[in-house]
């Protein structure tokens, strides 16, 4: 009797303690982001003299206009959209066709091919960074958004192997009868894929597309190595350049507005597709 009585408050205590720790981490995760948005609205005087946690005294929305036009973030934003859309489209087309054949057809070398794609995800690709730079310049594709699209969609950042890995699992899960029925109906191989299998795999394509969108939108190292022409900077490169220039001229508000501009699309995508993002990740990882 006494024992159980003592146990309940102890359990309650540990539950409260855990709840407290969870809340603390929530604050530690969300506050820096919130603080970035707040700082993006401050003027320089307040950043230099005020407390970092003060709310903005005057709301300087012009920081956004400033960074958007004068610091060319509008152009960077457009470049990032072009590169992201192009990379995802190409990666999905190349990934879905290969994944479909790997999942549904038996042929010599199938296992090896699948292994090569998946194993490439586990290899540190920094080794390829220098050769890749010279490959692109040999192909006259350095300083070009198209070159960056190619590197993202089939190159070393690994979104293609992820797409193949994820979609092979997806195509394997679709029932075999679909193809058999279509074959009897006289559909060609291409017809079966484009008219039946591809539409059916839309949920898988969306998951892969969203996750790869985040990767490409946020990518920095390839973009900074391969693009030196300021007109073709993507948003992450623009931010890094702006931060480096902070040593000479200090414009904290616009810098933080730049950070905010980079985060806003990601936050919107996350709010809409968080189920696909968190779900897709775990399904992909658990199968491996």
């Amino acid at each position: 009797m006494n024992e159980t009585k003592a146990k309940v408050p102890k359990q309650l205590l540990s539950r409260s303690l855990i709840r407290f720790l969870l809340l603390l981490w929530t604050v530690l995760v969300l506050y820096p982001v919130l603080w970035t948005f707040l700082t993006s609205l401050k003027d320089n005087v307040q950043v230099m003299q005020g407390k970092p946690w003060d709310l903005p005294t005057v709301l300087r929305f012009e920081n956004y206009g400033n960074v958007w036009s004068r610091a060319h973030f509008g152009d960077y934003f457009l470049n990032s959209i072009i590169v992201t859309a192009g990379s995802i489209a190409l990666c999905l087309l190349l990934g879905a066709t290969t994944a479909y054949v790997l999942a549904r057809y038996n042929f010599k070398g199938r296992g090896v091919l699948y292994f090569v794609y998946v194993a490439s995800m586990m290899i540190p690709t920094t080794l390829g960074l220098i050769p890749l730079f010279f490959l692109l310049s040999d192909l006259h594709l350095s300083n070009s958004l198209f070159g960056l699209i190619l590197v993202y969609s089939v190159g070393t950042i690994g979104i293609l192997p992820f797409a193949i890995f994820f979609l092979v699992g997806f195509y394997k899960s679709l029932p075999k009868e679909l193809e058999e029925a279509a074959t009897i109906d006289g559909s060609t191989y291409y017809g079966i894929f484009f008219r039946i299998m591809l539409p059916l795999s839309k949920p898988g394509l969306i998951t892969v597309g969203i996750m790869n969108t985040l990767t490409v939108w946020n990518e920095y190292i390839m973009a900074t190595v391969l693009i030196n022409d300021p007109e073709k900077y993507t948003v992450p490169v623009g931010i890094a350049i702006m931060q480096a220039e902070m040593q000479y001229r200090t414009e904290w508000g616009p810098l933080f507005a730049g950070l905010a501009i980079s985060m806003i699309p990601v936050i919107i995508i996350y709010m809409i597709y968080q189920r696909q993002i968190t779900g897709g990740l775990t399904v992909g990882a658990l199968k491996g």
């Binding site: 929530t26 190349l94 220098i130 190292i221 931060q243 990740l281």
Partner: protein, 302 residues
Amino acid sequence: MISKLKTSHIWSRRLFIISFLLPTLALFALFTVYPLIQGLYLSFFDWSGGSETMNFIGLDNYRELLADDIIPIALKNDYFLVFWKVILIMLFAVFFAVALTRLKLKEYGFYRIVFFFPNIISVVVIGVMWSFIYNPTLGFLNKFLSLFTSSPVDTNWLGSPKLAIWSLLPPSVWAGIGFYMLLIIASILAIPSTLYEAASIDGASQWRQFTTITMPLVWEQFKTSVIHIVITTLNGSFIIVKLMTEGGPDNQTQVLGYYLYQMGFKQFHLSYGATIGVLILIVSLITTLILHRVLSRETIEM
């Protein structure tokens, strides 16, 4: 007639398979496989970018590597980051995963979404944000610490040889936990609840259930996660280094990846850069193999 039809059928099937595999494979070979092989190849040459000046020098780059004083510092820092990131990320990730699944909180969905959030932010944003948190005069951290001290704190977190490498840990851990937490959560949810029910009936405490049921059954995922942290850290931690310290002060935060970047794209010592790349590959493979061995337990099949 029939056999002709059959061979044409076989050929159209074959053609279909090839047409679906070849474009992807060709582009993948050119943009992923070729650079890796070329990197290996370059490490045996002396090359600084021109077309006529590529000389075969055998293992000279590797000899230079062994004699280079910066390499041991970079290796030490890489392993410093690997070690602490594995410990801290897995500690938090497992704790949060267990807390969120086993306590059956109402707010489970909310925490899951929030805790994963840092993983979707660009490393550039994280680097700039944390650089400003650490800023000696304007930064959040010093101003916050000053609230509790009589004289204002003016620690130069990223500029001090002793503190700089430690200061790179919080942003890396902050940005890493959510992903691994989700992986652990998924594998905890795959454990049949009957196991926990039986243990509760037997009077096993939460801690005992954790050590005897949860940990053994998520061990495979735990191992995969640790290895994943190791590979991504050795391969990618140099981005945060580039953004926050550029390897400084005086190479005290130098890591192999950033040293490669400096050699290749700042000093145009390209073949030496490629050799550092080979070292990164070798170090990752060896570390992964050792961890596979060390962390192997008998897997429990259900």
